[in-house]
Amino acid sequence: MGAGDALAEVVRDEGTRVLATLARVTGDLTLAEDAAQDAVVRALETWPRDGVPDNPRAWLLVTAKRRAIDVIRREARRPGKEAEAVMFTEAECDPPGVVHDDLLRLVFTCCHPCLGTEAQVALALRTLGGLSTAEVARGLMVPEATMAKRLTRAKQKIAKARIPYRVPAADELPARLDGVATTVYLIFNEGYAAGSGADLVRGALTSEAVRLSRLLAELMPDEPTVLGLLALLLLQDARRDARVDDDGRPVLLKDQDRARWDRPAIKEGVELVGRALRRTPDHPNTYAAQAAIAACHALAPSYADTPWDAVISWYDVLLGIREIPVVRLNRAVAVAERDGPDAALALVDAIGDLDAYPWWHATRGELLHRAGRSEAARAAYERALTLGMSEPQVEHLRRRIAALP
């Protein structure tokens, strides 16, 4: 990262904090975003020339508040006393505890359950992540005008329906936190599914999700859901460079060059999953359990040395939290490695309700292939191909069919 990137990073981080404070002071997310954006642009213009001020956040806050007051006066859309309230706080710089709470409020407002999932994802990237509308639109493969409309509508709902700018009370916090984690995980998956080769813009969403979950872990360092989420994202993202070959084709876990995995990310992820699990040893959350599985893979020196017993136990934990057919399918794949294809086939066939899921058929095909039942394997692979898979996945299955005797 060059000096310019580092500066941009500081501006972006501090810009979000300034926006969070302004949203509280003005009670208007749109105005706060406009003012914070203006301050960020000015900082990026002047800091490289004049040097970074001693207190970057105070500089940004003062600049943003001036802008907010200008806008309020120009539009005269508010009684004077609110403009005064903004001015009144101009001189002071809020203590860290207040900034912390402002950011938390912003997190829970952007991920409020009364907003649609698409709106939450867009707000998390735009408002919390500080991406431009154009960047969010490209990342989510939506026309920019559509994204602008989606963001405007979401902010309008927050303002008009009065979605509160507040950290949820203790009794609602677990459910609300799950909602926040789901939104960040969705963003990660958008990027993860795109891969890192072909589509860099979408792939960058994984970094954005890691960044957002880091922010959550900074704000709520004692919440196991947040620790588990960050651990999971780091461990998944650590394999980014090894997941595609030089031609952009996906490389299966089994065939990945483990030297290309990001070791510092793995180390951090493993430590975090340990912290998350120690906090709730009796009832780990779904992210921590998934992170534990990812950690088993990340720490294995080779695919053959994967601790399959541990992987299978963690799948059992995960199924204990919530019974999900796809998790049972993944568990069966781990069982195949430990006990052979026949034992796994019995488990896969017992799942039953995944007939429309191409990976159920593809997995059956693979297991039948290994069990030496070529004709049944071919039929299962062919069935998977009729159910709509991505181009690289189709290519992979065709290679597997060609490898049948």
């Binding site: 409020h112 009364c114 008009k160 329906a161 009065r162 979605i163 509160p164 507040r166």
Partner: protein, 114 residues
Amino acid sequence: MPTYVALTYTRDVDWTSPEYGQEMKDYNEFGQAAAAVMRGGNALYPTTTATTVRVSGGKGGDIVTSDGPYTETKEALTGFYLLECADLDEAVKYAAQIPAAWDGAVEVRPVIEF
């Protein structure tokens, strides 16, 4: 404080029929529980009594009426409440206590204050 309208969508019911006595009681209980925020509301006659009014050809044009509700759906608009609440979280909390919430759905919308 903003006012919210909570529109109740349920089976198309005739509140005046004794058959719905128990349900009316449930709604009255809600009315008492929400007295602090209640600013109005009414139960409506069934959709068979509804008339949809349109004016064709712009303002001042012909009045065209049709028998029945504006939209024919499985669940009908059967009543509404006006609730004055601090924010959407509070409005949702009250809306969740309206019997329609488990007998259909409740749509919560902020009211424009002119």
